[in-house]
Amino acid sequence: MAKKEYAFYPGCSSQKGASASNYLTSVESMCKTLDVKLTEIPDWNCCGASIGYAEAGELPRHVMNARNFALSEQHLPGQEIVATCAACWLGARETRERLTHSDTLMADTREALKEAGLQIKEMPEIRHMVEVLIEDLGFEEMAKHVVRPLEGVKIAGYVGCQTNRPFGVAGESFENPMYLDKMVEMVGAEAIPEYDMKVTCCGGALAFSEPEKAQAQIKDIVESAYDHGAEMIVTPCPLCQANVEIYQGQINQRYGTKFNIPVMYYSQLMVVAYGGSAKDAALNGQVIKARRLEEIAAKPVKR
């Protein structure tokens, strides 16, 4: 029996062939090492994300999330929900808070859910994978499994917005959260705590609708990483990862920069440090290849 079990809410972007599929792969390998059992919520649906607002309205948005709660309670009773995607986590958690604080909203939601033959009782806790790692396992436990420290790799911890605000990880500051830097150090790499763009917004959905606005912000994020001598950027959020990684080419065209910095998930770093292969870490999933990590992943594990 696994050390820890959770109902898993991977979210749309983490699905096979989707923009964060590499996130999912690495998370699965990571959890294997850490002996954390994730059971996907059967037939889970989209959280609506923050960008859905124009059409979503209030109740429909909450109903979408409530459906996942209902399914989780029904199929995985007593388990907390873990999300890997910042938006999923935020959306679900926000719904949970609103429903707890408004009886009307709760009643309305229940009424709507009936249409899908579902119902919610207590509603499970909603956790982000990072919370699980830090709060349920702890750095010590995570560090135990490091067999291939990422020595000498300088990594900028880019936390972004939605894992950090408005809820954030308990005990962390909104303006200067340190957990990602701690994780970087935990895997034996070199953190950049003074990286001043660590909570700057990547532009979110505006990267699609108004690229120039989003890319202006992404430029600052990448530039500052370079200024601090980072070789790669690490993030806990799929949209951050995609936005910061895949537009570097366009930004170079727009601003005449020469950006080409890999953007990784914390899970990928951990898998490599845990002795996993490039494949386990889904390093092939990078648009901008993380050569240093590939090299390290190729090295034999010193046991």
């Binding site: 749309c12 599929s21 124009a54 605000r165 912000q217």
Partner: protein, 210 residues
């Protein structure tokens, strides 16, 4: 526009009350003390200025500037970074108010037609709720082709490299065009959402009726 004029008539010069009753979290607008932290915290406001930053929108609402507010492009600049929310000394849920006003303007059909984020936002929601899960390929295509085929191809070409990169990395699946991810119980989802909209509409209507 009839829906619009109806409410407008009902509220006459009390736009604030209209916002309080029709907009998600709208009842917080009156609590603003005009310190400006929200406006100063907004990243897009410093990349390319908002027409009216949040705190100014709140003042305009109190001043009854209905037309200017609802037709403004401002709210659509929100990236949902939540900086304003965590810094507001009055704890106003500003991000949600921005979304709320945008949604209301959109509902009344007063939001700027060509505002790309307005379009994308709607597109995203439809895309996500159609099958219960987002189809990223259709989502981007939909966005590029919003202004017709020609423009679509042009936009698409611009994004060619990005798309290719993602495909190489197996993070964009061309076959999603035919068959993408989807929930099994789509009927249930549709029914559930239909109901949700009904309830929400009736509640807001009830308020208009007073």
């Amino acid at each position: 526009m009839s829906a619009n004029t109806a409410v407008a008539e009902k509220y006459r010069n009390n736009f604030l009350k209209e916002i309080e009753e029709q907009v998600e979290m709208g009842d917080w607008v009156k609590m603003c003390m005009q310190c400006g932290v929200c406006s100063g915290s907004c990243p897009t406001n410093f990349q390319s200025a908002w027409e009216h930053p949040p705190q100014e929108l709140f003042m305009m609402i109190r001043a009854g500037k209905r037309e200017e507010v609802l037709t403004s492009s401002s709210m659509w600049n929100c990236t949902s970074c939540y900086n304003c929310i965590v810094r507001c000394p009055r704890k106003l849920p500003i991000t949600h108010i921005m979304h709320g006003i945008a949604e209301y303007a959109h509902r009344l059909g007063m939001a700027p037609k060509l505002q790309p984020t307005r379009f994308f936002s709607g597109l995203f929601w439809k895309n996500a709720t159609k099958t219960g899960r987002v189809n990223e390929l259709k989502l981007s295509m939909g966005l590029y082709f919003k202004d017709g085929l020609g423009a679509g191809i042009k936009e698409g070409m611009k994004m060619k490299d990005v798309a290719l990169g993602l495909m190489k990395a197996k993070r964009l699946n061309p076959f999603e065009i035919i068959k993408g991810h989807a929930c099994k119980d789509q009927k249930g989802i549709q029914a559930m959402l239909k109901k949700a909209y009904e309830i929400e509409r009736s509640r807001k209507a009830a308020k208009v009726a007073g």
